[in-house]
Structures are given as C-alpha cells and as structure tokens.
Symmetry: C2
Subunit: 227 residues, 2 copies
DNA sequence: AGATGATCGATTGTTGACAATCATAAACGA
DNA sequence: TCGTTTATGATTGTCAACAATCGATCATCT
C-alpha cells in the first residue's frame, strides 16, 4: 500500500522552485520577489515565504532582510569545497559498505554504468549527467548510514547547482565514456585502498578539469575586457 | 566595528528555542504548539512558524501536518551515526590544516585544553562539556573549509541534543580529565597517521562508553519492567 | 458488545492587509 | 558642483482572522 501522503503548498513550491533553478528557468543570481512568485503559483505569500526559507537554508537562495532575495551563485572556491568534501564522504560510504556488498549492489552498479555509457554514446548529455549522479548516489543509499545519505543529498544539490552554473552556461561537456571504468571495477573488487585512491582521484580530477577550463576562459575574457 | 545587524523575530526565536531545547526547559519529545509559543514570545504565528520550520529542517523538531509538532528525540542508532560521521570529518579537517598549523592554532588548542582540565577539576560538568565542544570545533574553524565547518556545526547541534538526551537525563558524566591528552599532543606533533588513529579512537570511544552505559541501563530497567 | 458513523475541540495550513525597512533618486543648500 | 537631506517606490517582515485537517469522544446501529 502507498503512504497516501497529502502535500502542502510549501512542499510543492519547494519542489517546483528547485526544478526551476536546476533546469535554468530561474537564472543564477536573478532576483526572486515573493509577491510575484505567489501570484504565479496562485497562493498567498505565507506558504511561499516558508518555501523560500527552506531553499535559503539549503543554499539555493540568498536573501538580505527587507531588501531582496536572489538565486544563489557558486564561486570556484565553493565548488572546490563541495568536491573535496564529497571525496571524503564517498570513500567513507565505501568503507561502510565494503564487507556487505551483495549481488544486488553489484548488479545495480553495473546496470547504472551500462546506462551511463549508452547515454553518452547517444549524445544525451543531460541524461548522462543525471545517471552519473545516480551512480555515485548508489553507495550512499546502500551503505545504511542515514545521516551520511542526508549529507550527500545536500551536497548533491550543490553539485547540481554547479552543473547549471559552469557546464550548461559555459558549454562544458558531461562525463567521458571511459571516466568510470576504473571506479566501477574497483568498487566491485577486493582492494579497498586502491578504490579509495581511485575515488579521490576520480572526484578531484572532475573538479580539476573544470577548474582548468574556467581559468582558461577567464584569462581569455579578461584579455578582451582590458581593451 | 561590528556588523550592526538587525535581528528579525524569526532569528531571535530560533536562537531562544534552540537554547530552551539544549538546556532542557523544553523536554525532548514534548509537544510544541504554535499558538502557545507565539503568545509566550508576544509575536504572531507567522514569524514563529518560520522559526519552527528552521528547527524542523535542522532536526530539532519533528512535525506531522495538521496534527502537531514535538521536540525531536535521538535513537541510539542516530547517535551512532553522528559519532561515526564526525570521526571522518574531524580527520579530514586535520588533514586540511596539517601543513598550515601556526603558533596561533597551537596556543589556542593548548589554552582550551587547560581550560577544559580546570573545569573538570572544579567539577563544573556543563562548562567542561561546552569547552570540550569548543576544543573540537577549533580545527574546523581554522582549517579554512567553510562547507566542512558548516557541516560540523550541523553535527554539533545533534551532539548537543545527544548530551541533553543521554547525559543530563541519565546522569552520565562529562569527559575524563585525561581524555584529551593524547588528542592534543598528537594534534601538535608531526605524525599525521597517529593523530588520525587517535581522533577516530577518541571519538568512537566516546560513543562506546555511552552505548555500554545505556545498554546496561536498559537491561536493568527491562528486568524491572518484566515483573 | 462490537463495529460504524457523526460530532467536537485542538492544531496546523492559508489568506489578505498592514507595518517596517531599504535602495534609489529627486530636491535642496552651501 | 558637490554633498546632504528628504521623498518615494519596492520588498520583506508582521499580524490577526479564517479554513482545512486530524484525533478522540460519543452516539448509533446491527
């Protein structure tokens, strides 16, 4: 049987706004005014404010009292922090699950890897990024540590914000087709230290590629702006 | 100069309620009704609801739509998760700061250690617990990783809830006077691996002592209840 | 008696209006 | 012309009343 849960306005608004930010229809840094949104959703400002508060505490919005609210923007340093913390958490998740990896876990991991490669081959970047997130989420979901999973989900939201910021906007591409070969095979193997090394390398490399890309971009554009 | 920030009702209420929960004047699991609290604070339900939402998302309160809100309670498994995740984060914080530990950091650490031992000698349990938290917070504050600090602060709140739950209520005592000797001396030394080992042992031992204490209690009381 | 349906009080969810504050820019004086 | 002061519009903060929902109690029927 289903839980049959009622959904309050606030919850629906939170979900809608999160989607709008993540798919780009609410551009990063753009102002968000309560009265305007309330009218669009057809509700009063009360529930809408509570939804905004939720997103503010989750880091999606920033607000200045009596002045205004905007969609958050992530600096390169912010993104660096997300990646570095994520590397530690993911190694910890594998440490937790290491001795209880069952067939179900292995199959799910390989299935996601297959799906990921198919999406990349088809050229569907958005699907590839979504599946890559699912693949990395698997270990958090299966490791049996609720608090760790919750922490990861908070980080994941920031990661998605990062993709909207730097990939979609600046034209960066999704993952390479062979990017997860070592990750998956080591995650299925028996050498934990090797996996830990690979997880850290994989995640920090993902950031390094972006950083190099962005720094190069910035130098090019600053050269133009100097004229 | 100070930031001179205005404080909105919501922020003040959040702080007040958090204190009330942490110092025990709002017992764990006790009901919290909006209208009642609003009257006590002399504000309307609007700002009060937003404050409650804040505490709900932070894990201090749990709510059921249209039904009621209560102060949260932590299960032993919840506490175990807090401690285990904390161990990983604290090792990571030391890894970050390891090569940039300066005199200021070392002095602050030793000062807090001295204060901690004095409080324990004086028998001031509450002060000792507060200082112990400050001591462990130091590395997060100095490691230069804002997101890690933020994550730690969220965990710290749950730790404080844990102390209210299991120490104050069940009569457990604060830290031993020599509990941090190895921790501090290794944090000032040059052997990172030894420190990492000690941090994990120190934190997990803190939980193990509590777990043994509680399990023993439970067995005793269940023996009585069975009559 | 047991199960089923209606009633009632309590609590949260929602609303629209009002107040406080801020940023901008226009008006003013030296 | 420059700096200061004073309006003004926009936006968030706050309020009190109303609606929706839930849990328990009581009545009713078989």
């Amino acid at each position: 049987m289903q839980p049959l849960k009622k959904r309050t306005f606030r919850e629906q608004i939170v979900e809608e706004l999160k989607n709008s930010i993540l798919n780009g229809s609410l551009p990063l840094g753009s102002p968000v005014v309560e009265a305007e949104l309330a009218k669009q959703f057809g509700v009063s400002r009360g529930p809408l404010r509570e939804a905004l508060r939720h997103l503010i505490e989750e880091g999606f919005l920033i607000t200045i009292p009596y002045t205004g609210t905007r969609v958050a923007t992530l600096s390169l340093d912010d993104v660096r922090e997300v990646f570095s913390l994520r590397a530690e958490l993911e190694v910890f998740a594998f440490k937790l699950i290491w001795n209880t990896r069952d067939e179900d876990f292995r199959n799910a991991l390989q299935q996601l890897h297959t799906d990921l490669k198919q999406s990349i081959e088809k050229g569907d970047e958005d699907a590839a990024i979504a599946i890559e997130l699912s693949l990395h989420s698997l270990v958090y979901e299966r490791c049996g540590h609720k608090l760790l999973l919750q922490t990861w989900q908070s980080l994941k939201a920031k990661l998605q914000l990062y993709w909207v910021t730097h990939h979609r906007v600046h034209g960066r591409r999704g993952p390479r087709i062979d990017a997860h070969e070592a990750y998956v095979s080591l995650a299925l193997g028996d050498d934990f230290d090797a996996l830990a090394e690979e997880v850290r390398a994989h995640i920090l490399n993902g950031f390094a590629r972006t950083e190099a890309f962005l720094v190069a971009r910035e130098q090019a554009s600053s050269g133009q702006q100097a004229s």
